[in-house]
Subunit: 227 residues, 2 copies
DNA sequence: TAGATTGTTAATCGATTAACAATC
DNA sequence: TAGATTGTTAATCGATTAACAATC
């Protein structure tokens, strides 16, 4: 009865990363529409709002099933639920944060994550000042205990919010400890086998450079037009 | 004398976004090599370290000039300097942060930004508790004063670290106030004309969903192989 | 029925990879 | 010179866009 059995339905071709990245975006906007009591939406309107094309949205959704109705569009609530399921909203995930600095503490404090199914279990750091303290009811442990902790607790995702230097070694410990994903905020890249672990790099500083590069380009473009 | 005048050099074809995103990555790794006193590197080795292909790196660099030497590779220091110039390292940029919550305070506290040329000038918030306080020597102003502040000070980039609801309105004020870029941490998208302003969205929460989606896929793939 | 909008195939566009002559 | 590695062109791959029959 699930959508992939539907006639004209979905084969299990690999989902492109570009599509996966847009799913949370769709989900967020559908939440908003639900709050506004909108109950239907066309790919056209959705596209306009999100800066995409209608074609792209229909293509994306058809990787997962036929959620729309010809001549009508998509039922907001239904599509919201389908996407929630696809992205695994509310499926419980256990996380630990390595690096109890400012950024680590921002993440563990953020209340929405729990609602989304992300449970931060503990923090780890090497700063004696921090070890033993509690933040938001979560203990900061000595990083030396990370390996043991991972043996005793099933953790799905390890979050790295340390400086770049120790990041690689920490990532190794996390992977050996059985995490399936690393959410990496340290400006470092890892070279793990993709089969072993999925790494998501959040390059905050680098995105600021990307922004300035694009500004520069934009200014040049305008100058060229003006002659 | 600049590199784009060299024979076999560079036309001003548009630089793809995918290329721009990789430049800070190159820069960061070259810094690391410099610290390690490495003075030459081939596209091959660079690629291996960064998880790219040699071809890709050579293609990327050739958008900007011919920085390598056949049979030798790239001089680390020279390439580092070229890329620093391309990404505008140390070119001074003036920024304001709107939203003096935890995330805003993480950003304004981060010392490396100053070295990179990013100068955070002020924070704005609507919380009476926060207005008038100082963080890291920067004052928190009433958001009602943002418009006026932008008229009196040339600000290049506006950073939005508020909840999603006021983000759109704030973005409007920033754009009308003449910022050339928006670095947006709020989970909202804007629909500005690209000519007007460059927007860089940092979707922290969404990247966590991307991670879990990819983990799910990975697990399915392994299960399929095991039968 | 007429109008709207999907699902889906085909065409286009862009980015990555491969290949190799040029040359250090 | 022989070996290495670039710069650059051509081939491939993948993602986006366009188009339209299907159908609500």
């Amino acid at each position: 009865m699930n959508s992939s059995d539907k006639q004209g339905g979905v084969t299990d071709r690999k989902i492109p990363n570009s599509v996966i990245k847009r799913l949370p975006l769709y989900h967020r906007y559908l939440c908003q529409l639900m709050r506004q009591k909108v109950d239907r939406i066309s790919s056209q309107k959705l596209a306009g709002e999100l800066g995409l094309t209608a074609s792209q949205i229909r293509q994306d959704l058809n990787y997962f099933g036929n959620f729309g109705m010809r001549g009508y569009g998509y039922n907001v609530k239904e599509l919201h639920n389908e996407i929630a399921q696809i992205i695994g909203l509310k499926e419980q995930r256990q996380l630990v944060i390595v690096g109890a600095g400012r950024l680590g503490r921002v993440l563990i404090d953020y209340p929405d994550f729990k609602e989304m199914g992300f449970y931060f279990r503990a923090l780890f750091d090497n700063d004696p000042e921090l070890i033993g303290r509690e933040i938001n009811g979560k203990k900061i442990y000595n990083i030396a205990r990370l390996e043991q902790y991972l043996q005793e607790n099933r953790i799905d995702i390890g979050v790295i919010t340390t400086p770049p230097e120790p990041a690689r070694e920490i990532a190794e410990i996390l992977v050996n400890g059985g995490v399936k994903g690393i959410w990496n905020f340290a400006p470092t890249t890892f070279n793990f086998d993709q089969e072993q672990v999925v790494v998501e790099n959040v390059c905050i500083g680098e995105s600021l450079f990307t922004l300035t590069c694009r500004i520069k380009e934009q200014i040049e473009r305008v100058e060229n037009i003006l002659g």
